[in-house]
């Protein structure tokens, strides 16, 4: 955590760029006529930074995430990962969606271990070093308070617990990038705030470059180093907010004038567009 605080102090120039969007656009084909969804989006995300994208629904936020993951091809412009254009699924990505999509036939720990059965670097070692991998999954689960629920099946877990397990699954293979598509959207307000603190802990621990898509402006400010606001379709980035609050952030900070100022700033931009 100390490392992280010092990183905040050092200027951005010293940290390498992990992800870069250059002139990225997206056009849907609506019954023959093209409908531009995203236009000329360009921005850079430095390594180990936490970035949020907020904007009205249908503005293409999720599409941006899917472009990074390689799930959706980038047809206009380019998305670079460490300088290389992304054109297929990156294996060093962890994803969590609004729906936790745990596999119902696997218990919590086996759900968390799933990526290790797929990513080649771990797949080979999984059998011979099973105990080590299980230990690291157990450690991850205890960070999110699921230590005692390893052998539970998804139907035995609450919504918040499932989402925590889903985050562990996204992080187990030490991804370089963590993509979060409204991961707490379906949770109640109290659980959601707990999850912010937990996600912050996980992110500090893993040091991975994170991109969060959300509708919740407070969530975006609480978690991010930078918040990008996208406008109405065809959307562009209409505002960039740098959040300078010290880390680790606490829920009390949400009530500081500084936080409130940023919140109303973001609100203005969302409403204006």
């Amino acid at each position: 955590m100390v490392e992280h605080v010092s990183r905040q102090v050092s200027p951005q120039v010293t940290t390498p760029t992990a992800l870069e969007f250059r002139d990225v656009g997206l056009t849907y084909d609506v019954s023959g006529s093209p409908m531009p969804v995203i236009e000329n989006v360009s921005f850079k995300i430095s390594q180990s930074y936490f970035v949020s994208v907020v904007g009205p629904s249908g503005c293409g936020k999720t599409s941006l995430l899917r472009m990074i993951s390689g799930l959706n091809p980038v047809k206009q412009g380019t998305v670079y990962f460490h300088g290389e254009p992304i054109n297929k699924p990156l294996q060093s990505v962890g994803i969590a969606f609004q729906n936790p999509v745990l596999l119902p036939w696997r218990n919590t720990i086996n759900n968390v271990l799933l990526p290790l059965e797929i990513v080649p670097a771990h797949k080979k070692k999984l059998k011979s070093q099973k105990a080590r991998y299980i230990a690291s999954a157990q450690e991850l689960l205890s960070t999110v308070g699921l230590k005692d629920f390893q052998t539970y099946y998804p139907w035995q877990l609450s919504g918040g617990m499932k989402q925590r397990a889903s985050l562990c699954r996204a992080l187990i293979h030490n991804p370089e990038i963590l993509l979060l598509d409204e991961p707490f959207g379906a949770l109640d307000a109290f659980t959601r705030e707990e999850m912010w603190e937990m996600l912050q802990r996980l992110w500090v621990r893993s040091q991975c470059t994170s991109v969060l898509v959300t509708h919740d402006l407070r969530e975006a400010i609480f978690l991010s180093d930078t918040v990008y606001v996208m406008g109405q379709r065809p959307s562009q980035i209409v505002y960039t907010l740098k959040v300078d609050l010290p880390r680790p952030r606490t829920l009390d900070m949400c009530f500081t004038p500084e936080f409130q100022r940023m919140y109303s700033e973001l609100r203005q931009y969302i409403q204006r567009n």
Binding site: L71, W105, I118, R169
Partner: protein, 265 residues
């Protein structure tokens, strides 16, 4: 302070019994006994003739004389049913996977399957006896034909209903098609498969018996047919009971397998 301990006093509770472990055995057995008793009473009260509707007592009275032959023929029916069902399981799963995964197969194989399923199989048995003669082959084929459809359709719809985000999680990690099938498609389809097996096993029995009544010289269907033509209605009913018992037994086996293999449903 007054403690009301009425809840601790022993009292018959239906809810408690229904949720107990033995309920799965006790209730079906009680039901069977009640049905037999009612049946017996109705036949006696209304004085129904034995060759119209034999009472359970009359049916069980046939056991000393006909128990052996019925058992032997039940065995024949069980065998043809299981062979037909086994083939249907393999073919149904393969067709279901093909339809679920390939657009081409779903556009070609699926309509064919539905069209074929609409044909009453009893209409095909005389044809099969011409092609394959009298015996086990038409029974196995009819059992297969009736059992394959529910299996194929359920497996196909199991594959078709995999949540796309579940696949996305794997695709984003670089999983290939086989890995996605192995980790998500296959386990997701298991509940659908087991649900279909319970239907398919009954269908397979029906198929075997239909074929045996038309083109066979053995099996429960043959016993029913020859007993009825000799006006031995009690024997025909004994054969029907044997069939029902086998149906329930196999159904129970699949329920047990289902509980074991698809514990998460």
């Amino acid at each position: 302070m007054v403690v009301v301990n009425s809840s601790t006093s022993p009292k018959f509770s239906l809810d408690k019994m229904l949720t107990s472990k033995r309920a799965v055995y006790i209730f079906p057995i009680i039901t069977a006994i009640v049905v037999f008793v009612l049946w017996e009473v109705i036949v006696r009260v209304f004085g129904i003739a034995e060759f119209v509707l034999p009472a359970p007592s009359a049916i069980f009275a046939e056991i000393p004389q006909w128990g052996g032959p019925v058992l032997k023929n039940a065995w024949t029916t069980l065998f043809t049913t299981l062979v037909g069902f086994g083939i249907a399981l393999v073919m149904g799963v393969l067709m279901g996977f093909a339809i679920g995964y390939s657009k081409l197969a779903s556009l070609t194989l699926y309509p064919l399957l539905i069209g074929f399923n609409t044909i009453p199989k009893v209409a095909l048995v005389p044809l099969m006896s011409i092609w394959f003669g009298i015996g086990a082959v038409p029974a196995v084929i009819t059992a297969f034909l009736l059992a394959v459809f529910p299996i194929a359709v359920n497996v196909a719809s199991g594959l078709a209903t995999v949540e796309s985000e579940m696949q996305d999680v794997l695709v984003a990690l670089g999983a290939n098609r086989f890995e996605i099938f192995q980790k998500v498609g296959l386990p997701h389809t298991m509940p659908y498969l087991f649900a279909s097996l319970k239907v398919a096993i009954s269908q397979a029995f029906i198929g075997s018996v239909i074929a045996e009544t038309v083109a066979s010289d053995g099996g429960i269907g043959y016993v029913i047919l020859s007993a009825s033509s000799n006006f031995n209605v009690s024997l025909a009913f004994l054969a029907l009971l044997a069939l029902a018992v086998m149906g329930v037994a196999l159904y129970s086996i699949f329920v047990m397998l289902e509980k074991r293999f698809v514990h998460w449903v």
